[in-house]
């Protein structure tokens, strides 16, 4: 996963000479206690989860003594914040805060920029989106010229940062930019950057994500699934990523939508092309069906890659149907899809008698693809309903979703009779 936990981000910042509070990560209350003993003063214990608003959710607590730290860590470890389980806590020295700043590097994809933008604000500690724009200084970076120390100094000058702290803040901004560049980040933010009562500048929190396509350049980060997602990867996501990793021939994007499927109505969904695939999802939703996973195999993948994708989708437990949502008149030769899908259906359907499939495949080599699909599934039809459609139905999303719904209803009835 391309997003880093706070403690991982801080390790990168520290390496770029951005001061961070003294502290370490703990996976057990005993470890938390030992770290607090080592720090030797009051500590803050921070849940390591990918969620904003950890403080409000009760995921950040203070402890005066090592024994408190152990008890508090025990409370935090295992708790859930926004459906994410806390598996690690960061134990750090508690800071005496004088003032909080914000520093961030983001990508501006707009026509005018197409470049990184470094942002600095004297209003740290809150959501930067809610800060008045006159309290944010920003500079668009010309990557050929680079981001220089005087750029960082000028950001501070623009917001009238007192001269005594200006050099150390500028150094922190520099360090964040170097981290952003060096680790190929998608975003890198320090919020807040704290000025302590003792006059020290420290990165109290950070949010860093690595660009998916650059993860291969940083094996040292140990990121096993280079995919953006709101939650950490599930086992399913891991398997899906293995299909893609190292195979640059076309795209195979699969993401689990419902890791804890409860109840009926889930479809194993196999879309083709990002834009078209979602049209099918909208239509399925309108029929009261949900997708167990989202998928997209496009960009001319090989039949082997399509096969692996279909196989992963079909192997999900508790799905009630399979839809190949090829809502595009594709330029890619669709016979690779036909071959891959037929092979997966032939292997998986016999395990699930009655399980229905709706297949839409349109575009280049459509006629040949239809022949492959029909010939390859005829002998399965006795056991499993399979409906196959081509470009005459490419925008008939409602019709296809209704067919999926009707076949699923029949499948349910049959199972009830049996059960």
């Amino acid at each position: 996963m391309a997003r880093l936990y706070e403690y991982q981000g801080k390790q990168l910042l520290k390496a770029a000479k951005v001061p961070v509070p003294q502290g370490e990560v703990a996976a057990t209350p005993q470890e938390a206690k030992k770290i607090a003993e080592k720090i030797g003063k009051p500590v803050v214990i921070k849940s390591q989860v990918w969620a904003g608003g950890r403080g409000k959710a009760g995921g950040i607590k203070f402890a005066e003594h090592p024994l408190d730290a152990e008890i508090t860590a025990n409370q935090l470890l295992g708790m859930e914040i926004k459906n994410l389980k806390v598996e690690k806590v960061l134990v750090e020295e508690k800071l005496d805060i004088e003032k909080e700043y914000y520093v961030g590097v983001i990508i501006d994809a707009s026509k005018e920029a197409r470049a990184p933008v470094v942002m600095f604000s004297t209003e740290g500690g809150m959501d930067i989106e809610s800060v008045d724009s006159e309290k944010i200084a920003r500079v668009t970076v010309d990557v050929l010229r680079g981001f220089r120390l005087y750029d960082a100094l000028n950001l501070c000058v623009a917001l009238k940062v007192p001269t005594r702290v200006l050099p150390s803040i500028a150094q922190a901004i520099m360090g964040l930019y170097q981290t952003f560049k060096g680790y190929n980040c998608r975003t890198a933010e320090i919020n807040p950057l704290v000025l302590t009562k003792a006059g020290k500048i420290l990165a109290a929190d950070c949010r860093i994500s690595i660009d998916d396509s650059s993860v291969f350049r940083h094996p040292e980060l140990g990121i096993d699934v280079a995919r953006e997602a709101p939650t950490p990867p599930t086992e399913f996501d891991r398997i899906a990523w293995w299909i893609e990793e190292g195979d640059l021939r076309g795209t195979c994007y699969i993401a689990q939508m419902a890791p804890d499927k409860k109840g009926p109505g889930y479809v194993g969904y196999h879309g083709i092309g990002g834009g078209g695939a979602i049209l099918g999802v909208d239509a399925l939703n309108r029929q009261g069906l949900k997708i167990a996973n989202y998928a997209d195999t496009s960009g001319n993948p090989t039949a082997a890659k399509v096969y692996r994708a279909a196989k992963v989708i079909l192997s999900q437990p508790d799905i009630e149907g399979y839809m190949l949502g090829g809502f595009i008149v594709a330029n890619q030769e669709q016979w690779h899809h036909a071959h891959g899908v037929v092979k997966a259906l032939r292997e998986e359907l016999p395990k699930r008698p009655g399980f229905p499939s709706v297949i839409l495949l349109c575009g280049n080599k459509e006629k040949e693809s239809m022949e492959i699909l029909k010939e390859g599934t005829t002998d399965l039809l006795g056991q499993n309903p399979i409906e196959i459609y081509g470009s005459e139905k490419v925008y008939e999303t409602e019709f296809l979703a209704k067919r999926m719904r009707a076949l699923i209803d029949e499948y349910r009835k049959k199972r009830e009779i049996k059960g």
Partner: protein
């Protein structure tokens, strides 16, 4: 007339001996595109379907004279060098049908392209096609397929979805219309050409009477279209569909350009900004072609 890809546009294919490069070069040539040279280091002197192969872009340009455009069939991690090489040889239009390109590489290409005054299409663009004239990239598939799906007519098409770059023109053709040029802007987090760049080109093209946009969530692109209309850089009828209303924040639904980040780029925001500018926003993609037809009649 068309935009970017015209009758006399000469084209170079970088990575011409690879799996995709060789197949697509043959398609492009078969469609009538002026593919004058290909490049693969270490394969100079060979030919791919009658197209001469050179070791470097500079060598190709020396042999063939200035070349207008390049299509890069190279793996993502190799794209930066391919693009810089083309830019250094004076090529001003580069089509990049390449995904999974490291972000910092993209930023460097964009900065260098700007410096050289070049247009970079993509990365992650499946290409561009001006029906009956030329095609660059994957768009079109095969000459037979391209002839069936892309017919000449008065509509410019800009798509954020590769697949829909074929489907929208197909629907337009089914409605009895045709297209001037179809452009897929790409899928990566930063793109070289977007609505704000392309709409003024369609405005200047006398054959384009209206433009259809297949939009998606994420990024600033649909807002740029709204801005172009607001500032009168584009005054012809514009029909837009925005896909992805159901997508949760932080999840991309295939490609990196379509992730809702920091609460920005939702379908709702985009539709609002387009409607305020007076753009015709349709609720479903199958309404694009009928709406265009109605607008052209009035």
């Amino acid at each position: 007339m068309a935009i970017l890809l015209e009758k006399n546009t000469t084209i170079l294919v970088q990575g011409i001996t690879g799996r995709e490069g060789s197949v697509r070069a043959a398609f492009m040539k078969g469609y009538g595109t002026k593919v004058v040279a290909g490049v693969t280091p270490g394969r100079g002197g060979e030919e791919v379907t009658g197209i001469p192969v050179f070791n470097t872009v500079e060598e190709a340009v020396r042999a063939k004279g200035p070349i207008d455009a390049s299509v890069t069939f190279v793996p993502g991690p190799g794209l930066r060098d391919a693009v810089l090489e083309a830019l250094d040889s004076g090529i001003k239009f580069i089509v990049m049908p390449v995904e999974r390109v490291p972000l910092y590489d993209i930023l460097e290409m964009m900065a260098y392209g700007k410096q050289k005054g070049a247009r970079l299409l993509g990365p992650g663009s499946i290409g561009i096609i001006s029906p009956g004239i030329a095609a660059a990239g994957w768009l079109g598939g095969t000459p037979e397929f391209a002839k069936k799906v892309f017919v000449p007519g008065p509509i410019g098409v800009i798509s954020r979805s590769g697949g829909q770059s074929g489907t929208v023109p197909w629907a337009i053709q089914q409605a009895g219309l045709g297209v001037t040029t179809v452009v897929h802007i790409g899928t990566e987090p930063v793109l070289g050409q977007s609505m704000g760049d392309l709409l003024p080109l369609f405005e200047a093209d006398p054959d384009t009477k209206a433009v259809a946009v297949f939009g998606e969530i994420g990024g600033p692109y649909e807002e740029e279209a709204a801005e172009a209309v607001r500032t009168k850089k584009f005054t012809k009828p514009l029909v837009v569909y925005v896909a992805g209303a159901w997508a949760p924040e932080g999840m991309r639904f295939s490609h990196a350009s379509s992730i809702i980040e920091r609460g920005k780029g939702s379908a709702k925001d985009k539709i609002k900004s387009l409607k305020e500018a007076g753009v015709h926003v349709v609720d479903r993609p199958d309404e694009i072609a009928p709406t265009l037809k109605k607008l052209l009649k009035s």
